[in-house]
């Protein structure tokens, strides 16, 4: 299994990465070398096997529902590339 340039373009779009075809072709070599290495996994019989998403089982990690102190708004906004009036400023997302 190897990714084609067409698939690379599609996946880059899904991941919100603006990459030129030249860049994608450059990355494709490395990515497909790894994909080829994954091939051996396909031969592993796993029909009767349950998947593991979490190596150490934890069930129902409940805690007391106690109100805490949230991060002050100024601190939450302190790292924003642009902020005004207590809000994050982003490019316009709705047409006028």
């Amino acid at each position: 299994m190897a990714l084609t340039l067409e698939q690379m373009r599609h996946v880059a779009k899904l991941a919100r990465l603006e990459l030129s075809d030249e860049k994608l072709l450059q990355l494709m070599g490395h990515i497909n070398a790894l994909m080829r290495h994954f091939e051996r996994l396909q031969a592993l019989p796993t029909d009767e096997v349950e998947p593991t998403s979490h190596s150490i089982p934890v069930y129902n990690a409940f805690r007391e529902d106690v109100p805490g102190t949230p991060l002050p708004r100024e601190e939450a906004l302190a790292n924003a590339p642009q902020a005004r009036d207590g809000l994050f400023i982003v490019p316009r997302i709705v047409e006028e």
Partner: protein, 492 residues
Amino acid sequence: MELHELSLSELSERLRRREISAVELTESVLAQIERLEPHIRAYITLTPEVAREQARQAQARLDAGEWNPLLGIPIAIKDNISTRGIRTTCASRILYNYVPPYDATVVARLKAAGAVLVGKTNMDEFAMGSSTEYSAFHPTHNPWDLSRVPGGSSGGSAAAVAAHLAVAALGSDTGGSIRQPASYCGVVGLKPTYGRVSRYGLIAYASSLDQIGPLTKTVADCALVMNVIAGKDPLDATSVEVPVPDYREALRPEVKGVRLGVPREFFAQGVQPEVAQRVHEAIRVLEEAGAIVEETSIPMVEYGLPTYYILAPAECSSNLARYDGVRYGLRVGEERGHIGMMERTRAEGFGDEVIQRIIIGTYALSAGYYDAYYLKAQKARTLLRQEFDRAMAQFDALACPTAPTPAFRIGELVSDPLAMKLMDVLTIPVNLTGLPALSVPCGFVDGLPVGLQIIGKPFDEATILRIGYTYEQRAGWQATLRHPSGIAALLS
């Protein structure tokens, strides 16, 4: 011997006996940084003012009669662990200016104990890499040979401890990122059991695999740091409520009757014969001390690397979706509208290795490929876990090399994606199964340090610390390890 060359255990004892002051100790480490940091480049951000202030506060507590093993000890923190008010970059352009508004739980605990923060250490971008060459800022040099890598991704932390630019450090380990650099730099590194140490404030790479742990000069030092950072944290729902022992009790040189399994597959996998020899010698030392050594087999290990390189990128593609130029970090291309801004910010903010993993992960999770890749890898993870469970039922711990070779040269493997990733082939299975594992220096090959990896049962860090301590006491590498060959000339 100069103060900064001593171990954490030795220094805390001297502080307790009031033979030295915390201020004096911090100045000694800062002076060593001044001399060597231009050659090693272990740090992304140095915090000498913070260190001096915290050292004064620590000394005030000591003067008031207070003491604990970490009070006044200069410590370095990997730059993916959040420090309130101190820039935390993940060695990425996308977070080049990010200043966390809160401390990671491990940092809060170290501060409460009175540890002194020296700086934030270099790493592979977002902890993705095995050499620290994927840092967006600069590479780090191995203190044993400046032309070589310190390993990665916690390469800055390992190099800082080896070159005495900090007394101890924290790193993070997703596929070997504490143990492999510890092995390359001749220091002790522990990846605790998944859930043993809070990940709150650790900037996520692969959440089901990431774990914070110590890099230290000795096994005793490792136990002292673990005493402070281990334990359930309400802020991390995956941290586990299992009682934390006093790890100092594990510091006994006795392994009589301890059953030690030696999985033969961990000596294939491209392991250099001289490395295998050093590790076999180390295992013999433990056998002479009374351990019962027996060969065992974990055939699934060969599937560890492909399993990891599907699951870790899948989790990374999801975790790194948050970097969109809106709330923090880099923003590029505002004139292109909100989607264009995100696409340009991410393309310019992430380095190639991170982009590759995002692409692989997005692909592995995308419609039509999920079952063939992600689900398949999760099932392989189950099989790997079952094999480890079977081995762990027979043994108290497993012993094997940490990495297949000693440190390679800077630039040697950057263009060979698979060869670099194979450096993690012996550490990755441990992350996939959540087990704890310790790397302890076990000698040298061509003048470069080699690590013995000791893998334990879930939440039984105490046993692997005891085995590591026994080996360390009997092997007697400490005097050599104090003086890394690559910095000797710079200091004379």
